[in-house]
Amino acid sequence: MSVFRSIVFSAVLAGAITGAAITGAQMVGTIPLIQKSEVYERKAEAPAPAPTAAAQPAQTHDHGAAASPAHSHEAEWEPAEGLQRNAFTTGANILTAIGFALLLAGIFALRGRVVSWREGLFWGLGGFVVFTAAPGLGLPPELPGMPVADLTLRQTWWIGTACATAAGLGLLVFRKASWAAILGLGLIVLPHLIGAPLAPAGHTDVPEALSHSFVVAAVLTSLLFWALLGVLTSIAFRRISRT
């Protein structure tokens, strides 16, 4: 079987199982907290002048304009509460898992030798550091209804941080020289010295305790996601590429 097909098949298999399992974990972990938070979000959106937009009329002029379509939930299509919403969440989780599994299986193919499930686990944990821990240090998991900075700025910082952390870890692990250790650590620290885009000072009704629980729940589910994805992708790729 061609390498590409082996990668895709193993990624789809590992991604489908991981995505489904993680949806189960989210049902008890993050989703109830998101739903609680949306009660506050709707309450804040209900009065005619939105409080966040009224707070900084001059400085966030174009931000307000950019953010408003995303906030007016009534105007755009969104999945119906209950089964439909959960079905879309399951689908999005499975697609995300397949996407990241394609990255992992691609790396396993490049290794050019058999990758054990334990090695797969460590690659998964690397994914956790690159895609959850490092970006989450500057932009912690957030509940709906929290004040946030411009979306594009945050996405740019998030992607930049993930790339720098991946490059930094790669240098630390795969290059033995001292310059690589220094450069690797520097790359990991750099995005945090630049700093994540800060949210404008705004009022939120979302209680502190609720957002704290959400950070813990989101980070733990993500750890489970990456551990499971790393192990399952390595097992699936080993079996499928052998045929």
Binding site: S2, V3, F4, I7, V8, A11, Q26, G29, T30, I31, I34, A67, P69, A70, H71, H73, E76, W77, E78, P79, R85, F88, T89, G91, A92, N93, L95, T96, I98, G99, F100, A101, L102, L103, A105, G106, I107, A109, L110, G112, F131, T132, P135, G136, L139, P140, P141, E142, L143, P144, V148, L151, T152, R154, Q155, W158, I159, A218, T221, S222
Partner: protein
């Protein structure tokens, strides 16, 4: 002599082939994650809303 060279060349091309296929698959993976987690299209955002928040992808 010539045989070894041919063998070497074919080994190199296989390696390049593997690298190209692996990189293509990884690009496809990044594209999928990009659409699910980073698209600004409102319908895509709303469909993947709970996943985005749980994965701490930057959200509205």
């Amino acid at each position: 002599m010539q045989q070894t060279q041919t063998a070497q060349i074919s080994a190199v091309t296989t390696d390049v082939n593997v690298v190209v296929q692996a990189v293509l698959a990884m690009a496809l993976g990044l594209f999928i994650v990009g659409v699910v987690g980073f698209s600004h299209i409102s319908a895509v955002h709303n469909a993947a809303h709970d996943t985005r928040h749980a994965n701490a992808f930057p959200c509205h």
